[in-house]
């Protein structure tokens, strides 16, 4: 077996989301696991085709929202009842009806913040450098090209066999991704 200089993987290029979808399914059926598809817009069914579990983002956001609600109401309760009690127009110190609007706002603020931060963190973004950018044609991944990259870390990866396999999927071209 010949040794190759380390590469990130092999990347096949398609011009149609359905072709990519079929390629992803075929690659998974062939036993590949460490791979990623790159598309200019969301392609439905692609994560299932790649065999990924649905994201747990909604649960994280629910947690963020509940934290925001508790923090918002707790802050107001603490300020108006404990730290700085004031009699305003004879209203009770714990004026819960008046505390609802700010509580709602903090709930939304925390949920939205959690959604964005958690989405970026789970995606490991921002990430200025990534090997796939080394492929020149990849700049069309944000316009009209669809890519499937089988990574060199996959146990089944073999420079020649994987290339043959990818070529069998009838892509526009197959290229090496330098790492």
């Amino acid at each position: 077996m010949t040794t190759y200089r380390p590469i990130h993987g092999l990347m096949a290029e398609f011009d149609d989301p359905d072709a990519l979808l079929a390629a992803a399914r075929a690659a998974r059926d062939a036993g590949y696991r460490r791979m990623e598809a790159y598309t200019p817009q969301p392609v439905h069914g692609l994560t299932e085709a790649l065999g990924r579990r649905p994201t747990r983002l909604p649960w994280i956001v629910l947690g963020g929202g509940l934290a925001g609600a508790v923090a918002g109401f707790g802050l107001q309760y603490w300020i108006n009842v404990v730290a700085y009690p004031l009699n305003i127009g004879g209203r009770p110190l714990n004026s819960w009806p008046a505390f609802i609007p700010p509580t709602f706002e903090t709930t939304v603020l925390f949920s939205a913040g959690t959604a964005v931060v958690a989405m970026l963190a789970l995606n490991k973004l921002p990430m200025p450098y990534h090997p796939v950018f080394n492929v020149k044609e990849f700049e069309r991944a944000s316009t009209d090209r669809f890519f499937l990259c089988i990574e060199a870390g996959d146990p089944l990866f073999h420079h020649k066999h994987t290339r043959t396999f990818l070529l069998g999927l009838e892509p526009l071209r197959v290229q090496e991704v330098k790492s």
């Binding site: 994560t47 802050l75 706002e105 603020l109 959604a115």
Partner: protein
Amino acid sequence: MTETREAAPVVAPGHDYASATAAISDVVLRRKPPRAWFVTFGLGFLGVLVLFYTMGVLVLKGVGIWGVNIPVGWGFDIINFVWWIGIGHAGTLISAILLLLRQEWRTSINRFAEAMTLFAVACAAMFPIFHLGRPWVFYWMLPYPSSTGMWPQFRSPLIWDVFAVSTYFTVSLLFWYVGLVPDLATMRDRVKNKLAKVLYGIGALGWRGAASHWERYETAYLLLAGLSTPLVVSVHSVVSLDFAVAQLPGWHSTMFPPYFVAGAIYSGFAMVLTLLIPLRKLYGMGDFITMRHMDNMAKVMLATGLIVAYGYGLEAFTAWYSPSDFEQTLQRTRMHGPYAPFYWSLILCNVLVPQLLWFRRFRSRLAVLWVISLVVNVGMWLERFVIVVTSLHRDFLPSSWGMYTPTIFDISFLLGTIGLFLACLFLFIRVLPMISIFEVRTLVSPNKERGKGT
């Protein structure tokens, strides 16, 4: 200017991924801005200068340069604040609610409408902050442990406003930016200029369109839409509570929250139409912003306008049905008092003229639609004027009645924010794609002609 509608498509036929991407991004990257861009941006910039001048005078001399007085302590500032916030609401509505309702037609206008939201909210925030008199200590309103040992008073709707507006601005910004990330990647990959490439690249955060990223991205985007929908309702409800929790006739009305929300959407859609009708022509975006969009927006305007009219009617009925002299007097003052011309103009602008929108004949004529949208913008401004000034200038004690006249600085502040709004909006059009490219791509077919490579 009549074009056919009804079955008008969301995107004109004949586009594929590449051509749609090019058509939208070329506005920023390739084409020279049209002359109208320079003219409008120039006017807007002039407005910004006027705004800075007014702010300078205000900080030097105090809020006395405005026409506010006792009893009318809230004049143009609160009118303009509510007006601008309301305009912002259409953006959130288009991007969030229509996304949840799976209305595909939103795709071509949501980016622009969201940008409009951001700038409108920024303009709105100027007014309460400068109305404070000492705008540089605005942060005293926030709950933080300060050396004075004091804390905010959470029974006041003005503090709720601080929370509502700042949350609204933050979440709108997040929503807008998250929507932009994939398009910034597109711009990064298409732009030739080195510096621009770096700047777009920083904004794109290294986005590479990985499938797992898209999944989380779409989930986050939907969640943001779901959160923005009640948020937008809450923001204008809180604004309405600034009035409604008081006991003043004309302000203390339980239906104020939904009535204000409807009014906000009404004026917001009017502003979207006011801006999009000329822009669409100017940039030849008729393929993406079709007659279908115009027709739908006109219908939303009609529906919200009717809710607003319901509010006016119910207010009149309440006064008539009320045993309170004050309520009855207020309604009489509105209709026959010194500011009666404002009330009747408001009825003309907000209730009578928009009834034309029932007819497809008028909805499909862009010139007519544009004029109606302008009329509604004016009408919604008048509505806030009537609510604020007529209620305040004659309250319970006749001895403390007074009149309110805006000064030149009131007017220059309003014109200045309009300038700021236009300047920001036109800068946005110049540097960022005004239509969400990746979402439009989901509406067109992949490739017209297959150019197979090696």
